[in-house]
């Protein structure tokens, strides 16, 4: 531990702590601009200058490590003079028109710093050189006139996301934040995660939807869960007067620690699907708005007529466990339907549940392992286009020298970054895995006894899958040569043989396993047995609890065959247009409940917005229907989720 004195206060901090963080720990405020608690110290703006005894000049507290017996002063005439001068130079460099900037008032860290130093004016006026504005991006605008070149956006783009899209060109006053080799943001390699917008200290990065609609002092913050995919990121949702203003990554969330992707940050605010506002009932061929009572009675009548095997019931994996359990109870237990499943039909989870049952135990690891792994074996999973945050977790670690082994039959943009990209011929994944297992044995790194001739097996596999044996050996070397390796795979591209081989590869190489699961509650649905493949034969009625999910083409085509369709959904869609009865229900922001993410973390999503009066929760609709059918439902999800073995241990 290090002992130092800041402003007369004795402080003890661990070795390596910066003076700035030591001061923060002691509750002493030092103004900063380029520093961000979740980014590496940079020392660019010099606003955090302090006096340290024994030093000839002022020092930037964000980069200087605390040492024993250091005596630091954070306020003095000299320091305030220096800070004012730094701010004066920053304001004179570009064009800051506070009265109409969206962050002026409470959200601008530059303005707040100036107020903190009591600045009533700019001692040096800007020279009014206009700077361009890049409005080519669909979700945000880069306004260079307000940029202070703190490089937070650039550092977030590389340190948190690993996209490395943003950078600078030129030097000194000509320095400019650019995307790629200076192309418009909208045409760049930007992944639209918006982390740059989240960390920008000024109004230089403008979120198109939230700008001018509220500030930190006027909005409510809600820490909850993104339901975009099975990663289960924590998000901070800003609302004002029951309106969604903006979504940020929640810095305190254990899974994503502030990072989120476009699905979590921008999709909900840019969702312009038309909301369902009243129950609809098909009369004389067209859907008419009716009362809840009339809609429920009509639906109950249809359900009664079709009861038993005549009903196919499909529920969205974007709904919480509370809804899933009631749905299963009503249709499987009470009405005796055999075809009760989820919108994903267990396309990813069914095989995992089967293997968990077969092995009698959990065989997958937790997301934390990704942060510790040195080698990644990614099979089939397209982490550029879905479960993006997992992709960020890998990409941002390339500067540490991690190795990526990619196995994909199709084009995968992660391939550009891979240490070795193995592209097997179609449907030869099993052969490739056999070759890798043999290659591990050939290197003498196998933790499980290998029966057979490794040389021959590698050669045989290489011929079968079309991947050179050298590449197989290289991949096996990287997988076993590193301290910690992890296999990340997409169960949708596996079958029982491939699954068996992935587990064997994991066992012989010592690599951990983790798989993407799909929807936010895909694993929750799997635990409840809602993972059947949807097959309609002679079903007279389809009941779909769609929530706010956009119905997939495949689902619509299957449902079309049904003569009676009942849908509970948040938005108008092709599916609701086909329905005979439509119940308007809450969307993800208006519901609360539990979700199980891909690594078995049981998380709570909190209600953020109040639904309109005519809109019911999914649970309320199911309970009211049960009532009409003369039965009652009870929420018992805590008991049922652990009745079935799961591929990864489930815990809060």
């Amino acid at each position: 531990m290090i002992n130092l004195t800041i402003d007369g206060q004795q402080i003890e901090v661990p070795e390596g702590t910066t003076v700035l963080n030591a001061a923060r720990k002691a509750g002493i405020h030092i103004p900063t601009l380029c520093d961000h608690p979740h980014l590496k110290p940079y020392g660019g703006c010099r606003l955090c200058m302090v006096e340290i005894e024994g030093f000839r000049t002022l020092q930037a507290s964000c980069t200087i490590p605390a040492t024993n017996n250091m005596v630091v002063r954070t306020t003095s005439e000299q320091i305030h003079k220096a800070r004012k001068f730094i701010l004066t130079l920053i304001f004179s460099e570009r064009n800051h028109f506070c009265p109409y900037c969206q962050v002026s008032g409470s959200d601008c860290e530059l303005q707040n710093a100036a107020y903190g130093e009591g600045m009533t004016h700019w001692p040096l006026q800007p020279n009014w050189q206009p700077y361009p504005m890049d409005a080519s991006h669909p979700y945000f605008i880069l306004e260079h006139n307000r940029c202070i070149l703190c490089r937070r956006c650039i550092r977030a783009c590389s340190e948190l996301v690993g996209a490395n899209t943003l950078g600078v060109e030129e030097r000194g006053a000509k320095t400019f934040v650019i995307a790629d080799l200076n192309v418009p943001l909208g045409e760049s390699s930007c992944v639209s995660c918006g982390m740059c917008v989240q960390v920008c200290p000024t109004g230089a990065l403008i979120d198109r939807r939230s700008a001018y609609r509220g500030q930190n002092t006027t909005v409510d913050h809600h820490q909850t869960l993104c339901v975009g995919c099975s990663v289960g990121c924590g998000v901070d949702i800003l609302t004002r007067d029951q309106q969604l203003i903006r979504i940020d990554g929640d810095w305190d969330a254990p899974i994503n620690q502030g990072v989120t992707c476009k699905v979590g940050r921008f999709y909900p605010a840019f969702d312009d699907r038309e909301r369902l506002k009243a129950p609809l009932l098909r009369k004389n061929g067209s859907l008419q708005p009716v009362s809840w009572e009339e809609a429920l009675a009509a639906a109950a009548e249809k359900i009664k007529t079709a009861a038993g095997d005549g009903i196919a019931a499909i529920v969205s994996t974007r709904l919480p466990l509370e809804s899933l359990v009631l749905f299963r109870q009503l249709f499987a237990d009470r009405l005796g339907s055999e075809m009760v499943t989820s919108t994903e039909e267990g396309s990813r989870t069914a095989i995992l549940s089967r293997w968990a049952e077969k092995l009698g135990k959990a065989f997958e690891s937790k997301i934390d392992q990704i942060h510790e792994a040195d080698a990644f074996f990614v099979m089939g999973a397209d982490l550029i286009n879905e479960h993006e945050v997992l992709g960020f977790f890998i990409r941002r670690r390339f500067p540490e020298g991690i190795k990526l082994i990619l196995v994909d039959e199709d084009q995968n943009r992660l391939g550009d970054l891979a240490h070795c990209a193995l592209i097997p011929q179609k449907k030869t994944g099993a052969a490739l895995l056999k070759g890798l297992i043999a290659a591990v044995a050939k290197l003498g790194q196998n933790r499980v006894a290998f029966n057979g001739q490794p040389d021959e097996e590698v050669q045989k596999a290489s011929e079968a899958c079309g991947v050179a044996s050298d590449l197989l050996l290289e991949a096996a070397f990287q997988l076993t040569n590193n301290e910690k390796s992890i296999i990340i795979y997409d169960p949708a591209v596996t079958d029982d043989e491939v699954m068996d081989l992935i587990i064997k590869l994991s066992q012989t190489s010592g690599a951990a396993m983790i798989s993407i699961k799909g929807g936010a509650n895909a694993l929750g649905a799997a635990q409840l047995g809602l993972d059947k493949s949807l097959k309609l034969n002679g079903h007279r009625l389809a009941y779909i609890a769609l929530g706010d999910e956009e119905p997939k083409e495949r689902l619509i085509q299957q449902i079309e065959k049904c003569s009676n369709i009942i849908v509970q959904a948040s938005y108008h869609s092709r599916l609701t247009a086909m329905a005979d009865v439509v119940f308007p229900v809450v969307n993800w922001l208006e519901q609360d409940g539990h979700f199980i993410n891909l690594d078995g973390r049981l998380q709570i999503a909190a209600r953020v917005l109040k639904p309109a009066e005519s809109i019911w929760t999914n649970e309320a609709v199911l309970s009211a229907l049960a009532d009409k059918l003369g039965t009652a439902l009870e929420s018992e999800w805590e008991k049922v989720i652990s009745q079935r073995p799961s591929p990864v241990s489930i815990a809060a």
């Binding site: 009533t120 004016h121 009014w128 206009p130």
Partner: protein, 180 residues
């Protein structure tokens, strides 16, 4: 002791800061009790006394030769010069036109504007003031007290005037200090 004399004027602004001054409601009576309000753009007397005033208040930036004269006259005739509002302090919204040349802005205003007919003509009477780059007041004459805000709110203006009237220098901070 006689009441301190106060004069004000406006230049390249929107008059909003003077509106904000009036927004102090009945407290304006108190101000009048404390000071001798001389010339303002909204009263009959238009120029500060030749014999001088104690406090001169300027709203707006300086965007032509006429504004320059107004600022210089006020500076000459007052002891303490107050720059009132963002335009006077920073240049403000009118300074956005500094991104263009004066020729471009005049052409836009007098020829290209959608409401201008085919006969659009840039005024060139030698009697007229010549437009310049928009400057903050302190770029042309020294300023003693800066009161930013778009506009500064009535409470702030009341605080500044009452402090000055009582011979104190106002210290703008916390909720009295804002640039928007």
């Amino acid at each position: 002791m006689s009441k301190p004399k106060v004069a004000s004027d406006w230049m390249a602004g929107c008059a909003g800061c003077h509106m904000s001054l009036l927004d102090m409601d009945e407290r304006i009576v108190k101000i009048v009790e404390l000071v001798d309000l001389r010339s303002t753009p909204i009263t009959d007397l238009k120029h500060p006394d030749e014999t001088g005033v104690d406090v001169g208040i300027l709203e707006g930036g300086i965007n032509n030769t006429s504004n320059e004269e107004v600022a210089k006259m006020m500076r000459k005739r007052c002891k303490i010069l107050v720059a009132l509002g963002d335009c006077a302090v920073f240049g403000g919204v009118p300074a956005m036109r500094n991104f263009f040349t004066i020729e471009e802005t005049l052409r836009r205003a007098y020829v290209e504007t959608e409401s201008t007919d085919a006969e659009g003509k840039i005024p060139d009477d030698p009697e007229l003031a010549r437009p310049t780059r928009v400057r903050a007041v302190h770029e042309v004459v020294p300023v003693d007290i800066f009161v930013p805000g778009c506009p500064p709110d009535a409470d702030t203006i009341f605080y500044v005037l009452s402090e000055l009237a009582q011979g104190r220098r106002p210290d703008l901070k916390d909720d009295k200090l804002h640039w928007h």
